[in-house]
């Protein structure tokens, strides 16, 4: 991918935030949010607690996976195209290890997801391998090994501990609380820790970060490791919800997660982006899909609008950052 990065392209997020003045594009974004709210008000049952719950629940699993992907994108290592497959085998491991108890099963799942993705991060970070090709290869390898190991049949839970993940404390799915908690946690890590700052720099300009003596390989590996843990957490919930898992469990998770990250305005070239942005992207897609559903549009239309939202955000975010550069 030809990514042209001018050296003096950006003056730092802090400097930009200080100079931030609402421009035409921010007005456009505000108008879009307003339009959603107005159409929502005119839609029967949109502003109800039950519907809000539905939006949050539908956003939660993709959201958790998208938070993980945010780390990969932020570090300038493009995207992983093996999220669905990683989630599928993680969910299989989660259900298969239920007999050891819920906590042990969760540990197994997270370690597996982190190990699979972290191994790819190692090759991307230290070997400078192309993440797209590598993750396509990984997706074949993961599915191949998983099919071989299970004989191609679905994995059933070996215990009942997984049911706790389907709990709805306070009427909201547990995964929604977790999505919000993980967003706060990730945002804090990205803003406040040395790892977060180095990841931004690596994503902004890998060569410069390397020249500055920053631990480029290690940072990318850790980012992918953590991303895998996020994918595994989403997978555990997905496995618990479906009570069975096979190699197709991941479904369209890969592209849903990428769409969510992009809809949050995070550029795929790295160096910029945040957990909160990704959360906003997930919620935007979930809200608009819900609105279309309530107004009786087909699944196809919902998917089409999702694509158009992502496209619009990409173009707007790009035009805006291009303006900021001048």
């Amino acid at each position: 991918m030809s990514v042209t990065k001018a050296p003096a392209m950006r003056w730092g997020a802090a400097a930009r935030a200080a100079r931030w003045r609402p421009g035409a594009l921010d007005g456009l974004a505000a108008a879009a949010v307003l339009a959603v709210l107005v159409v929502g008000a005119a839609t029967h049952r949109f502003f109800t607690y039950a519907n809000l719950k539905a939006i949050l629940t539908s956003a939660s699993l993709v959201g958790i996976a998208a938070l993980g992907l945010t780390l990969i994108v932020l570090g300038g290592t493009s995207v992983s195209l093996a999220i669905s497959q990683t989630a599928a085998v993680s969910a299989m491991a989660f259900l298969a290890s239920q007999s050891w108890g819920l906590v042990a099963a969760l540990v197994v799942t997270v370690v597996l997801g982190a190990a699979i993705t972290g191994l790819q991060g190692l090759v991307v970070g230290y070997g400078e391998a192309n993440p797209i090709v590598l993750t396509i290869a990984a997706s074949f390898a993961i599915t191949g090994v998983a099919t071989w190991a299970t004989g191609g049949v679905s994995v059933a839970p070996t215990g009942g501990g997984y049911r706790h993940l389907n709990a709805t404390p306070g009427g909201l799915a547990l995964s929604v609380y977790l999505l919000l908690a993980l967003t706060v946690l990730l945002e804090a890590v990205l803003r406040r820790t040395g790892f977060g700052r180095v990841l931004h720099l690596v994503g902004e300009n890998r060569r410069a970060a390397h020249a500055a003596g920053l631990p480029v390989g290690r940072t990318i590996t850790v980012a992918w490791l953590a991303a895998g843990a996020f994918f595994a957490v989403a997978a555990a919930f997905s496995g618990a919800f479906n009570t069975s898992a096979n190699v197709n469990l991941g479904g369209t998770l890969t592209f849903d997660a990428i769409a969510a990250v992009l809809a949050g305005g995070t550029p795929i070239t790295g160096g910029r982006g945040s957990a909160v942005r990704t959360l906003a992207g997930v919620l935007l897609i979930a809200t608009v899909s819900d609105l279309l559903l309530l107004r009786g549009y087909s699944t196809g239309t919902q998917i089409m609008v999702k694509g158009l939202i992502v496209l619009a955000v990409i173009v707007l975010a790009h035009v805006r950052s291009a303006k900021g550069r001048r």
């Binding site: 991918m1 030809s2 290869a137 074949f140 390898a141 992009l262 239309t301 790009h318």
Partner: protein, 340 residues
Amino acid sequence: MRWSVVRRPEVLLPVTALGVTLVAFAALPLHTGEALKPFDVYNTLQGFARLAPLVLALGLTMFAGEFDLSVVGSYALGGMLAVQFGQHSWAAGLALALAAGLGIGAVQGWLIAVLRISSMPVTLATYIALLGLTSSMSGGLSKTYDNAGVTLWVDQPIAQVFSPRSLITLGAFGVAAAVLAGSRWGREIRAIGGDRRASRVSGVRDDRLLVGVFAASGLLSAGGGALLDFSLGSANPDPGVQPLILAAAGALLGGVSLAGGRGSVLGLLAGAGAVALLAEIVTVAAVPEYVAQLFYALLLAVTVAVEAPGLTRALTRLRARAASTSTVHPSPVAVGRAEP
């Protein structure tokens, strides 16, 4: 000199991939106990016709250093348009599919060229939108194609092993190869893939080329989808991710670099051929599907290793160390070639 040409990834990868799969295909009788029939070759070519348009479409954008994820979206939409509007006249359906693919591709190319955005997010968004559009056209259901005459015609055997569908697909490769070799476009597309800024400075109209490459990609994908759905006698609104992944595998095995600037139409042909042969081997030998998947993983792992500068450097260091400890004089050719 000859060896150094063969060692280049754009030659080595397709030759190896096609060679290995051809040998495996030829060795099939050892496994099944039955001699290969022309029908096996026919089937391989049918599988080739199914996937190869996507390999060519994706490969062309990869020459230019871009990556068109929307090929499967145009593929699905092209098929659906051809089936829905071609019930009475296949030509009308096909023309509509081709026009849609061309238009969508051109608009994407224009966005990418004018805004200088990375193509992956743009084409991913288009991919999602096109799948949604296709699905909403048929209410999420498969649409049957009732014009049985067309279905029979596109798959009728020609000279035992070909069909109009596989011949048209091969023809598309021929046209692409001729156009890229016979004009300066081939060189220029690889130039903008290799170094966009340098080629722009030297007078290459990269914006026009990008629009052209993406338009060609959309045209090929939509045309491939239309032919496939004519052959299947139905249009499926969601072909899944598998065709895209296989097309990417085919293009990469064809020796195209994701970094751009490298690859040839002949390589893409070999890459698509290798993937089609592998699918046929899996079917005929009744090999478990996971073996094929692990084989793809292995082949792609090789392409990853070939392209990773960090791995190449590590390998070079190892070789240098081995050379310095051994008494054998190190050959200058053995030192890793730096990737552009």
